[in-house]
Structure formats: structure tokens, C-alpha cells
């Protein structure tokens, strides 16, 4: 039953590239944005802290 409806869907839209691109773009923007903000914040903060205190543990 489901396989039938599914097959119907598939013949109408043979590829789903728009969804794939959207998904990859979303992941890139979100993770990339997070990373860029993180690195910038790190640089910003590092400037305010003397090097001897910049030991990571």
C-alpha cells in the first residue's frame, strides 16, 4: 500500500535535489556560523588575557 503511494511520488519528482541542497546549506550555515563566532570570540577574549594565564587546563 505504502510502496504504491511511494512509487507514485517517485515518478512525479525523480530527484529531491532541492531538499538535499537545502539540508546541506542549512548544516553549513549553522555549524559554520557557530564555529566562526566561536573563533572570533576566542580571539577577542585572548587579547584581554595575559599569555601566562592562557594555559588551557
Amino acid at each position: 500500500m505504502e510502496a504504491v503511494t511511494f512509487a507514485a511520488v517517485q515518478t512525479q519528482t525523480p530527484d529531491f535535489w532541492e531538499y538535499v541542497i537545502a539540508g546541506y546549506a542549512f548544516a553549513t550555515v549553522l555549524i559554520g556560523g557557530f564555529v566562526i563566532r566561536l573563533v572570533r570570540r576566542g580571539r577577542n577574549l585572548a587579547r584581554q588575557v595575559p599569555p601566562d594565564k592562557r594555559r588551557w587546563l
Binding site: E2, T5, F6, V9, Q10, T13, P14, D15, F16, W17, Y19, V20, A22, G23, Y24, F26, A27, L30, I31, F34, V35, L38, V39, R41, G42, R43, L45, A46, Q48, V49, P51, K53, R54, R55, W56, L57
Partner: protein, 272 residues
């Protein structure tokens, strides 16, 4: 866990090296890991979008799974690390574990959002709907809300000396909830609706596809460890900045006392 520890422990060595102080939060260890992550991600995307064939049932939509599945795994690992670190905060009472818990939770939120978004984009063409009240989806969505609450609590408690402890308690409570949420949503779904998730099981995962998935998983884990290291360092630096401000505040407070040292003579002579 071990990989994180080594990553963090290896870092001071590079910082202590006689080179000028690092500009940012990078160290040699983290840079190597970052390059590996980028390379793996690039390879993974190449495999995922170009080399691997479209799935027999799902056509190109299967390519979304190369992001979806790894991000789900990373998200769960990240929240697991937060829960573990929260326990360690209550036990060892160290700043390190508190910062690890906070950092990991934030990264977990990012990956959960990626996981949910790609899941929805996959669900629309394959299931016909963006969202279905499937047990795993519901659990993941609740997990996101729980840890968003955790981060909100951290922000609200900024500057509070008890923040580490209170947030650790909130983190543990959020984590306790996860298995209960999972059980309840599983039962709930089995009672209400059935088949939606079956499609994935039917399609055979071929060699190239499996390889793409594996690469992305490794890339995701490397990325997680890298982000954890950097996020931890950012949090660590933020604490140091606060400390410097605190030292200045102490000095200022004491100079206040110096200024008023003349005053007590009046007060005491009055008193006698």
C-alpha cells in the same frame, strides 16, 4: 571521552612553547584536528553529494542521511558528555568539568538542530510530511528544548557563585528525563500510529553509501572534539577575563578602605 582528554591535555605543551603567545584559541593539536576535520568533511561531502549513487527507493534524498545520522550521533554524545560532566561537577567540584558541561551542551544544541532540520527535509519527500510524532523525533525535539533550557539557565545565572552547582543539577535532571521521555514516546507512538519509519529499513545500504556515512560520522566526531576544545578554551578565557576584572575590583575596594582610614579617628574619639 579519552580523545577529548588527550586533546585538552596536549594543549598546554604547545602553549608553553617559546613561540609568541597564540592569537586565538588554537593550539597545534587543535589545528591538526581542525584540518583533519575539514579534510574529512570535504571528502564526506564529495562522496555524499557526488560519488555515492542515489538510493534505489529514496533517490537523492538519501544524501541527507549522511548529515542527519552523524549529527544525531554527535548530538547524543554531546549531551551524554554534558550529563557526565555535570555529575563530575558535583563530585569533583572543579571549574574544568563545569566548563566542559556548558561547552558540550551548546555544541549538542547546534548538532540537534542540524539533525532535526535535515530529518525534516528528508521526511518531506519520503514520508510526505516534515514532521511526524515518531518516538525518536519527539525524544530528540524534547532533548533540544531541555538543553536550550539548560543553556538559558546558565545565562540567567551568570555571575552567580553557585552557577556551576545549580546548572549541574539542572543538567543531570535533564539527562534523567531522556530515558523516561524515550520510553514514554515509544509507547505512545506504538499505541497511536505505526508504519511511517519502515522505509529506511527496506532499502539496502550499498558499499559506497556506507563509506560516505562512515566518513561523515568520523568527520562529525572530529568536528565535535575540535569544537569542544575551542569552546572550552573560550569559556576558560571568559572566566579568566572575569577574574582579572575581579582582581581589579578587590584592589579598588581596598583603596576605598585606605581613603577612609582617616575617618575612624573622628568616629572613635566621638565614641569615647
Amino acid at each position: 571521552m579519552t580523545s577529548i582528554d588527550t586533546g585538552l591535555r596536549a594543549a598546554p605543551k604547545t602553549v608553553d612553547a617559546p613561540t609568541p603567545a597564540p592569537i586565538g584559541t588554537g593550539s597545534r593539536g587543535s589545528r591538526i584536528l581542525g584540518v583533519i576535520t575539514l579534510a574529512l568533511t570535504g571528502l564526506g561531502v564529495l562522496y555524499g553529494l557526488v560519488i555515492s549513487p542515489p538510493d534505489a527507493n529514496q533517490s537523492n534524498a538519501a544524501r541527507l542521511l549522511y548529515i542527519h545520522v552523524p549529527s544525531a550521533i554527535v548530538a547524543y554524545v554531546a549531551f551524554g558528555v554534558t550529563a557526565f560532566a555535570s555529575i563530575m561537577v558535583l563530585w569533583k567540584k572543579t571549574e574544568t568539568w563545569d566548563l566542559i558541561a556548558a561547552s558540550s551542551a551548546e555544541i549538542g544544541i547546534v548538532f540537534t538542530m542540524v539533525c532535526l532540520a535535515t530529518g525534516m527535509l528528508w521526511g518531506r519527500p519520503i514520508w510526505g510530511v516534515f514532521w511526524t510524532w515518531d518516538a525518536r523525533l519527539t525524544t530528540t525535539a524534547l532533548l533540544l528544548v531541555l538543553f536550550v533550557g539548560y543553556v538559558a539557565l546558565r545565562r540567567a545565572l551568570a555571575g552567580n557563585p553557585n552557577r556551576a552547582k545549580w546548572c549541574a543539577i539542572a543538567g543531570i535532571f535533564a539527562a534523567i528525563d531522556v530515558p523516561i521521555v524515550h520510553e514514554s514516546t515509544t509507547w505512545w507512538v506504538t499505541l497511536h500510529q505505526g508504519q511511517t519509519v519502515r522505509l529506511l529499513g527496506e532499502s539496502q545500504i550499498g558499499g559506497t553509501m556506507l563509506f560516505s556515512l562512515l566518513i561523515m560520522m568520523v568527520a562529525g566526531m572530529c568536528g565535535y572534539v575540535w569544537m569542544l576544545i575551542i569552546r572550552f578554551r573560550v569559556a576558560f578565557l571568559a572566566e579568566r577575563v572575569d577574574e582579572t576584572a575581579f582582581d581589579a575590583a578587590i584592589a579598588e575596594r581596598r583603596s576605598e578602605a585606605e581613603k577612609s582610614r582617616a575617618v575612624p579617628t573622628i568616629a572613635t574619639s566621638e565614641a569615647q
